[in-house]
């Protein structure tokens, strides 16, 4: 790569004319090949676990032990077995409901709060905002135990008694996120005041302005909040593990873990299970790929 960089530089500054064209071309080819070789090596390392997982998920038990590279006959039945044995149908539906419920709440609270922190004047706005931001520093392990007691109804009486094994326990604590509020506030703050003044003269209040004007032009940051929230909710493990002692609302990740810790050495079924849990995330990723990486890159840069 150093070669390619140097040759490019020389070419730019005109020094390359003194060298023979052949040497230049060789150098460039070598440099370019090294560059692509390194990039490909990185890509291979990133992708091998996926290939391994997919390949193994189609093997027979015997093939996983002798460790063939590719199964002789594709064992589609592994997926059926894993799906049924691990009761994935139920967990999958649970995860979908949990994720969508959480996202609905998350989007509602963060859009409203993000807008208010950016555009509405009210006493204590700065202080409340800073306190919200400060909560991002608190590690989950500090909050986990008191929240567990809270959900069980030990600290204050909850509507409907203990929330263990309920949908509320899995969704309500994640329906607000300081990071999402921050992200949206930063974007809303860039919307010119003139727009708002114009809307006000037309008689629109904050809510109408937010819904009719702000939201349509804020698709990108809202999408980022949606995607981050989706990943967070779908991939959640520790909290659901604590609050789902029964199957009723157990999500997919906890289901996969119980399946894996019970399935023992049946690698092919474990891999089939892993594929099943990944599919929604990967589909979402490939569909929104550009927005996804760009959203996360910019949100990272701003943080």
């Amino acid at each position: 790569m150093a070669d390619s960089a140097q040759t490019k530089e020389r070419k730019a500054s005109g020094q390359i004319v003194t060298k023979s064209d052949v040497i230049y071309r060789i150098l460039r080819t070598v440099g370019q090949s090294a560059l692509y070789l390194a990039l490909t090596a990185g890509a291979v390392v990133a992708i091998i676990p996926f290939l391994y997982m997919i390949s193994t998920s189609f093997m027979t038990l015997g093939e996983t032990i002798t460790r063939q590279l590719i199964p002789e006959v594709l064992q589609y039945s592994n997926y059926v077995t894993a799906w049924n044995e691990a009761r994935f149908a139920k967990y999958f539906l649970n995860s979908v409901v949990i994720t969508l419920t959480t996202l609905a709440g998350l989007l509602l609270t963060s859009i409203l709060a993000g807008y208010a922190f950016a555009r509405i004047q009210f006493p204590g706005r700065g202080i409340i905002f800073s306190i919200m931001l400060a909560t991002m520093m608190i590690p989950e392990s500090v909050l986990m135990i008191p929240n567990f007691l809270l959900i069980r109804g030990d600290i204050i009486p909850l509507p409907g008694g203990s929330w263990l094994n309920t949908l509320q326990a899995l969704t309500v604590p994640f329906m607000a996120s300081a990071f999402s509020i921050f992200l949206l506030r930063q974007f809303f703050a860039t919307i010119p005041y003139e727009l708002f003044d114009a809307a006000r003269i037309d008689g629109a209040g904050h809510l109408r302005f937010l819904v009719q004007i702000v939201l349509p032009i804020s698709r990108a940051p809202i999408m980022t909040v949606f995607l981050l929230g989706f990943i967070g909710s779908w991939n959640a493990f520790l909290w659901p593990l604590l609050v789902t002692t029964r199957e009723t609302w157990r999500p997919l990740m906890v289901g996969l873990w119980t399946f894996v810790s019970e399935a023992g050495p049946e690698t092919h079924l474990q891999m089939a299970g892993a594929v099943i849990t990944m599919v929604p995330i990967l589909v979402l990723y490939f569909l929104t790929q550009k927005q996804f990486t760009e959203g996360i890159a910019t949100s990272g840069l701003k943080g």
Binding site: A46, A113, L150
Partner: protein, 393 residues
Amino acid sequence: MATTDTPTTQVSISGKGRGQFRWEKAKEAITGYLFVAPAVLLISVFGLIPIGYAFYMSLHRWRVRKGDFKGIENYTDIIGDWKGLLFFLIGVGLLVLAYWIWNKSFKSISNRRLIVGVISAFVIGAAGLSLVTGWNRMLTATTKDFLPSLIITLYYALGSVPLQLGLGMILAFLLYQNIRGKEVFRMIYFLPYVTPVVAASVVFRSIFSPRATSIANQAIGLLGITPQDWLFESKPIMELLFGWEIEGFLAGPSLALISIILYGVWTYVGYDAIIFLAGLGSIPGELYEAAEIDGASKMHQFRHITLPLLSPVTFYLSMIATIGTLKAFNHIYVMRTPSTLGTVDTASIVIFDTFYKANQFGLATAQAILLFFVILGLTQVQNSVFGKRVFYG
């Protein structure tokens, strides 16, 4: 919220009287409070009040149900020896002092540098002595797993953060060159980051399995190394590599922990690369052009343009990565095996076990609060030592 749409809005805009204006302001404030209320309520209930409650719990014997008030006994059990902690903190203080002296020396006149250097070397020596003495006193006195788990967490952080940032930066540089298929590479590198941690950890359990045919063993087989036990190996790395049976910190992490570190690096390199790439893209091209005209070599350009201008991104990523390793839980929980004999149990894992398996809620919250202070202290140090060197635009 709908009240904002009432005709009074229009009346006040046309400007009729002070009372009208005041009512307008009050209404604006009420709207604001209503807008932030849901989020503030949720964050307070699940993110703010629990901190206070955790502290309250940590002062009690609390085995599933609340028991007697114990004062700081939980903390004493964890720390073992308060004098040890004092020595340790004095050591930290001396290190900060040495850093401060060293910094001053660069600003002072050159003939004093030698003296200042000697002084700061002396202070560093004293700091090291104090740190080690304090730490050992605490370690011998403690009856809990928390302090040893901090060492494991430190291994984990030291093993994964520099490696992941370094590789991420290299990948970002390669991607930044004028290449074809950039989008495809970027998409592939980012893939591990979005993959569900539990599912990926299940795959890596199999990759790092002790079977002779596992991918990890086949890979080291290419280098002529005999198959290893990977995630099942509790022996420290120094013993495996060189046969040295050292005690204490220098023995290094177990091979099982190294397998977990490799998984962590696999997950985050792509994420770091994407953010570095965005950072590289925001460096103005004119700077490089100007440097090229002045005859600066690529190395010089890297050293004096890229690194300084990329430093906010590096700083941000190193903070995120360090905090992330200190809080890491899911993949370690899924990948750990009983035969690691606690050599992969980082602080978060120990807290979880104390809480979930041993049902010692009070002790677990005390550990969690101490972990929070460790995180706070480390980020403070990172901020004061590296934060100043970060070059913002």
